[in-house]
């Protein structure tokens, strides 16, 4: 629990004092590396599609790349390509991209699923949207689009004008008799898409053995809104920024915007003035508080029942944050406040009133948190319900690419704000909250403690802003009217969103719009752990575990 990064174990291949030695990594892989190229954030190795597993196993076991952060698939004029963005949980600045090209006529590539469990869903998405087949994949089905969908919408030859006509009969009938029902002692139960506890539209196919959960499969895609496609049709300078607010739409907007801002600024070499960084840091942490409040409130809702005081209290306290953010950004949820190279506005005038408002909130916060602890964490029945249920151990969490409070509650000390610093975080004094237990209780506790840490950050930001010299309040650097990054530049950058590592991969093609825009959503990876933590538990714990993962379907489905 400190800002000190955990000590680096450096027996892994390629780790040197100065950073990663890519030559050593290339030597480790030998002939498997077909070519090497430079991505904006790291080096990339191109490998053959039938050696994916060998290469990734070597990188994971000998070079220590235990975090498969993102998998991007894309189609070029002459080839398909899968890009695996690898990182290390101990030090996410040590990165490596592994590029796997496949031919146009036979787009088959070996699956990375045996190496990283998280690749399961990522590759299904790649298959669904782009059309690359993965060999050895345990479950090569569509994930976001319905089974009946024709074509792969992110492919180059996809006709977006052509309507998808599907007869009613062709759709799978969810009420149909299931094999689990016939003659077995188990019962098949659809939880969702319309169910009070699915936090949006999520369908969980559950098989029950009595009251116990024998099998769980989340079925996502009900809220798929083509966010990646939309971003690819917007210009870097203006048109993409309003959309990140709509990924994790429960008040984590500025955190999402920052993910795009960080990626695009690094891609186009934009500087951000310090003053703007402080404002960004403050507003982002306000968003984090609001998001965590909602997470705790809805968790209480799922553990308590329909009318819980905790939920309403959480909303009341969140409302205060929303009001502050409204004063600052002009909107309560869809902020659109960050701009490339800074923020849209300076603090509202009169500044003293604004500071007072924020300080009032911060002063009242400890008392409010005490209330939550009285209502939740110290309540014996709550402990009975949450302790030792939905346990996610650290190794499984890493395998699934879990990040954010979910991973930190499992003892994975991983926070991008500290480990891969951005904004004004390195200058401030705050701690990363972790817990060892990995159960539902630890996850809730982690969120409540993170609210405290966020409050500390905001407090320091307000101090800084109050004393900031008046003639140095530069809110935006000089940004060209049209941004055109270099042709074929690739970048993957991430920030610590409310739910975890929110990353964006962009490939530019020399125009003012991205050629490929891929969102690495933390909730997507976190939701993948649900079967691990819910199987064997009782139905109520399945619901509680789902709530403790704190997914937002807008972000899962994008």
């Amino acid at each position: 629990m400190s800002l000190e990064r955990p000590t680096d174990r450096s027996d892994a291949v390629g780790v040197t004092e100065e950073g990663l030695d890519y030559d050593a990594l290339a030597d480790l892989l030998g002939d498997s590396v077909v070519s090497r190229e430079q991505h904006r954030h790291t080096e990339a190795f191109t490998i053959r599609p039938d050696e994916v597993q060998d290469v990734l196993f070597a990188l994971r076991d000998q070079a220590g790349f235990d975090h498969c952060s993102n998998v991007t698939a894309q189609e070029y004029e002459d080839r398909f390509e899968t890009v695996y963005n690898l990182k290390k949980y101990v030090d996410p600045t040590q990165e490596l991209s592994v590029v796997v090209p496949t031919s146009k006529d036979n787009p088959v590539s070996q699956s990375a699923e045996p190496v990283y469990r998280t690749a399961d869903w990522h590759e299904r998405e790649a298959y669904d949207l782009v059309g690359i087949q993965y060999e050895d994949h345990p479950d090569m089905r569509r994930i976001l689009l319905p089974e009946t969908w024709k074509g792969h919408p992110m492919g180059l030859d996809y006709n977006q004008e052509k309507p998808q006509i599907v007869t009613l009969e062709a759709h799978a009938n969810p009420l149909e008799d299931d094999e689990h029902d016939a003659g077995a002692d188990t019962m098949y139960l659809n939880i969702g898409p319309h169910h009070p506890a699915t936090h949006g539209v999520l369908h969980i196919e559950t098989v029950l053995d009595g009251e116990q959960v024998a099998h769980v499969e989340p079925d996502i895609g009900y809220l798929h809104r083509c966010e990646e496609q939309m971003a690819q049709q917007g210009t870097y300078r203006h048109e993409i920024m309003p959309y990140p607010d709509r990924w994790d739409y429960v008040s984590a907007g500025i955190l999402n915007e920052w993910a795009y801002a960080r990626t695009a600024e690094e891609l186009t070499d934009l500087d951000v003035p310090d003053y703007a960084q402080v404002i960004r840091t403050m507003s982002a942490e306000l968003c984090r508080i609001a998001a965590h409040m909602l997470a705790v409130g809805t968790f209480a809702l799922d553990v308590y029942g329909e009318f819980t005081a905790t939920f309403m209290y959480a909303f009341r306290d969140r409302e205060v944050v929303e009001n502050i953010l409204e004063d600052l950004t002009g909107q309560r949820l869809m902020f659109n406040y960050l701009r490339l190279g800074g923020v849209a506005w300076d603090l509202p005038e009169p500044r003293e009133d604004f500071f007072e408002k924020v300080r009032d909130f911060l002063d009242g916060l400890p008392h409010k948190l005490d209330e939550y602890h009285d209502l939740l964490t110290s309540n014996e029945i709550f402990q009975l319900r949450c302790a030792n249920t939905g346990v996610l151990d650290a190794e499984t969490a890493k395998q699934y690419g879990a990040t954010g409070p979910v991973a930190r509650a499992s003892g994975v000390d991983y926070d991008i704000r500290r480990d891969d610093p951005y904004g004004y975080y390195p200058e401030l004094d705050w701690d990363v909250v972790t817990a060892e237990e990995g159960d539902n209780y630890a996850r809730v506790l982690c969120r409540l403690q993170e609210v405290e840490e966020s409050a500390r950050i905001i407090d320091q930001c307000v101090d800084l802003l109050e004393d900031w010299p008046e003639d140095d309040r530069e809110i935006q650097s000089n940004v060209p009217r049209t941004l055109r990054p270099d042709d074929d530049a690739e970048i993957y950058r991430a920030v610590e969103g409310a739910k975890g590592e929110l990353g964006i991969y962009i490939r530019s093609d020399g125009t003012d719009k991205p050629a490929r825009f891929k969102i690495r959503s933390p909730a997507f990876s976190n939701l993948q752990t649900l079967p691990e933590i819910a199987v064997g538990e009782y139905v109520p714990d399945l619901i509680a575990s789902l709530a403790s993962l704190d997914i937002v379907l807008g972000e899962v489905d994008r």
Partner: protein, 153 residues
């Protein structure tokens, strides 16, 4: 047991102090901050028909029709489709379009939300707040201005 009693005490305290955080809308109108972004207002007198707002709009909400001499004929904006990102106001060089604080709008059909330039002009101010003044204090305001006095054309 202590924890259970603490929970009960906390909720009872809230019940007894009688304070509520919900308001009786519309009897008590919620406070809207000066920067709030609501329905648009458009001034034909100011507009120079540069079409920047139409270009920047992320989801093609603004539609502008001009004749051969590049004189503006129509300015249509679908406030039901709009995502209220305020980019149109941000790029407008003459402050011809801006977003009022007015958030109270209803209609029976979607079509009624497609506003033309006359309807956009008649969108009322919310509590007489000048949006431009509130958002960027150094930029000139709208509210005090007489109707139709300015003519940039």
């Amino acid at each position: 047991m202590i924890g259970l009693l603490k929970s009960m005490a906390t909720t009872m305290r809230h019940a007894l102090d009688g304070s509520t955080f919900t308001v009786e809308y519309p009897d008590t109108a919620p406070e809207v901050s000066p920067r709030f972004r609501g329905v648009h207002k458009f001034s034909q007198e100011r507009c120079i028909w540069c079409r920047q707002c139409e270009n920047v709009c992320p989801n093609d909400t603004i539609q502008i029709v001009m004749d051969e001499q590049r004189n503006g004929e129509q300015y249509n904006l679908h406030i039901g489709q709009c995502i209220y990102c305020r980019l149109c106001e941000e790029v407008c060089p003459v402050d011809a379009i801006l977003l009022t604080q007015n958030f109270e709008f209803t209609a029976d059909t979607k079509d009624e939300f497609a506003l033309n330039k006359e309807e956009l002009k008649n969108v009322p101010w919310y509590k007489d707040i000048d949006p431009l003044e509130a958002r960027e204090p150094d930029r000139g305001g709208w509210v005090g201005e007489g109707e139709g006095e300015l003519d940039y054309q």
